[in-house]
Symmetry: D2
Subunit: 296 residues, 4 copies
């Protein structure tokens, strides 16, 4: 299979179940909504060493937010609901309650699983917080020095999927990186997914295990082109760089759509030689995304 | 005292000791260095609910980085050295090692306190990591799918100060917010300090204690203008909004310089009525920054 | 009439006929498409002193561009078709042909009026230019040092409208300015219009005529709050600043939709006191946009 | 000669005399100063088809501007002083006078050549303009709907140089483009120069003359890699893309410093094969910049 002359390997991405909450952050301008969203989703690449996997899902205009102001949807992901609740408390409490002109609404009001994060954070009002119905939502109004902070009482979450991915094999580093940027541009326009790594791109794809007992994951040596002389690199000679785009999403369809759009975008960048995907031969993950099926 | 017609209250900001590490992140372009820096310093507003207080200190051009590439200096702050070491491990490991084309160098090579973060992260190379001298620095080279990651062996840290601050009292919310933006513009050009809150601005200044046993800090009711009718707001009638700029720094001088530049910038924005500062009457913090001394 | 507590004056915006061409610029990433678009639409606020009125209409993803790459739609406006043809030649030849990885496609392939700008620019290829069908479009391929430049043979244009507008009256400058930013955020998401002034906002609304023979337009003295003591300012006492948002569009509907979205956004910013519009009592323009009708 | 393994060809860039004015634009925040500066310098790549060559020189903080607000320095260049005066009138009048919160100061108060652009634009005040001394400058205050516009009476200009340049030869397009971005990052930090093309980069380097009588410049066929089969491309086989960085500056030293910094930055990007420069064998330009001398 080929797209725009780029070979698509017949392999699959392997994903894992994860819990996902969507929060809609609004602010006086899109720029201030983005500031809050970036702070709230930072230090959120992988649950291996971060308290959550988090990212900006998409920008939404005032016609799609409860208060009519510009907004940014973010997704916050954790392996279990208990950790997810802690993430919501800490990330909304520290990074959205504190953000100029921000408000926080649930992006999953219909979800079965609900956390009363808004209620818990409302105690910051020291008795002056007030529960009310606003814009058809059940919210808390917390007086702040800069005005009132509005936060929805409950935030919903669903069973989602982490680890959707594809690999971009390039003639050199800049070709692969620009293709990754083009891919995350495209994915950033879609709903239901995030690319939680820095700028949406992973520079350090890993394999399961290592030669050290204390380390459960290590660099994917078979794909390290600087290890050609060591005989461990299995990549074709013309490939000199591999970037990975990792995608978390609210469901299987959202991830498939983002993989498709991202790969199509990447294949339009000159110097991209091949698209592949990362998996563990199906031993670990429960969700498989075969590239040839996704791209149909 | 007045600056540009804005009254400067005769009060002081109250700061606390904190441990501070500086990391210099370089990348192929300034934009990619910023992506890594933003991810590494995100979810880092206050140690109350974040694993660290972190922010971008300043941008540095290639003439001031070990590898001659564009760079961004970040500061990471924790209450103790043990937590700071964990922050360095997690934030550099998850957000810089994973960031496209990034490298990480110590921004405090002369500091007495040193952490061997680079050495510890190098095990990700699964035996193929190599220690070498590069650009006059003792670094590790870790093979990645996208190329080699270079990280300095040791990262230094010093005793710094958190909680430098000033308050901007505005005729309305947008005047105070724009002044806060102008202030963080100015502070962002200076070395030695960060403004760790979203966009550099705190919307939710707090007081110590609350009416709830489980909550140690709550909204600063005396400065909440929506509580005027409740009789708890002590602000003048013409003030309708207060934003706070919180500054962490490597030492007293750096914080004073940033307070001075920030306040001067804020006082040039129309609609700013008064500058004040947050303190706990000297009961808690060990560092006092009197506004009239700082602005001399 | 009121929106969110902000009074909407019962008046109308007065627009004028103008010729409008849409160009779709694509590039390897959205960022590079934006660089080309910004250069091509710069120095394009008013035909009084600029060679055209120009601006970014909206961002389009790869699913909506001929070559599947990310794109930016721009509108270029002139009083007559002759000037518009010259603008297309100069702005595409100097700012898009020269822009890294850019391509230029017609955004109005169905329009009756067509200019063969692509054909004319193709001579830059010095005999090596080639006409071909690509992506279902009739294009020229011009060899460049950095690769081939693709440009459509013909660019369409239509009879549009300039001078759609509304005025934001604020308690102070920052309230009115932030509201103008929120308005242009909203308008920037819509198709068919641009806000050609710097950052989408006009700081210097004008009246027809002046006391000088050589000057056909001058500052709108009746709305200058610094002229209160001179007795020429007719604004209410509580207003201290007025910003104008000027909108050009491909037709009446597009302008009405953008006025509606922009005004709704502006009315959500605290410190906005009133919305009005600029007109010349119907003496000059042929298009009237009554605010109360537009906002129905 | 080599830098970081990249060959530096023993050739020279050829520049031409041009007239250069520097304008310092200040605004309430750096962001608004940048909006004004971008609009004022847009559609300004080459005097072949633009009314001026213009660009952002550098960002300056409040400690270096007359009014203590954040600022952006721009350079505007024309072949003669008469055209330069017209450019100042139109670009400041249409893009800075109209820009929210902007003010305009001369960046060359000591220059021998001075234009009374501020005085001429002041008539927009319709008799209410006032001349006064402010911040030690001789300025005009023009009442606007959004507040008063402050502009210096006179703007200075000097004999500068256009066409400083270097060429980046890359293994592929993305390597050369990223290197060009890194170069313009570096040059953007320096004073005295601009890179007037889109994003600072030229995709369409030209040669003098063409096979068409009406066209005085055409694509540099000898460097077009898509013309290899036509036998006109003289580039080495491994080169597949060439980007040019063109630099205008206030004097010879400024251009040399920017060429040096830009080339050094470009040579740190993987996939860059060679640095060269564009000249006309000394037949046209009066300023020669030999790469080996510049890089000493």
């Amino acid at each position: 299979m080929e797209i725009n002359g780029v070979q698509i390997e017949d392999t699959f991405a392997e994903g894992f179940p994860i819990k996902v909450a969507r929060v809609q952050i609004t602010a006086v301008t899109e720029r201030w909504a983005l500031e809050a969203a970036r702070e709230a989703t930072g230090f959120g690449t992988s649950v291996i060493g971060c308290s959550a996997e988090a990212g900006i899902e998409c920008i939404v205009d005032g016609s799609r937010t409860p208060d009519g102001r510009p907004g940014v949807n973010i997704l916050i992901c954790n392996m279990g609901y208990k950790n997810l609740e802690a993430s919501l408390m800490n990330r909304l409490g520290q990074c959205v309650l504190t953000a100029p002109t921000a408000a926080a609404f649930s992006g999953m009001p219909e979800a079965e699983k609900q956390f009363d994060t808004g209620k818990k954070l409302s105690f910051f009002g020291d008795g002056y917080q007030k529960q009310l119905e606003l814009f058809g939502r059940n919210v808390w109004k917390i007086p702040l020095m800069s005005g009132d902070f509005v936060i929805e009482q409950s935030f919903g979450a669903v069973d989602g999927i982490a680890g959707g991915n594809f690999l971009i094999l390039g003639q050199n580093q800049m070709a692969a990186l620009t293709a990754a940027e083009a891919a995350t541009d495209a994915i950033g326009k879609l709903e239901g997914t995030i690319t939680p790594f820095p700028g949406g791109v992973v520079s350090s794809g890993s394999k399961v295990g290592s030669r050290y007992k204390f380390l459960k994951a290590s660099t994917n040596t078979a794909f390290c082109t600087s290890l050609r002389e060591d005989g461990v690199c299995t990549l074709a000679e013309d490939v000199s760089c591999v970037y990975e785009v990792v995608i978390n999403g609210v469901n299987r369809d959202a991830i498939q759509q983002s993989m498709k759009s991202g790969i199509n975008a990447a294949c339009r960048v000159p110097g991209v030689l091949k698209i592949s995907a990362a998996n563990y031969e199906g031993k670990l993950g429960t969700h498989q995304f075969p590239l040839h099926v996704v791209l149909e």
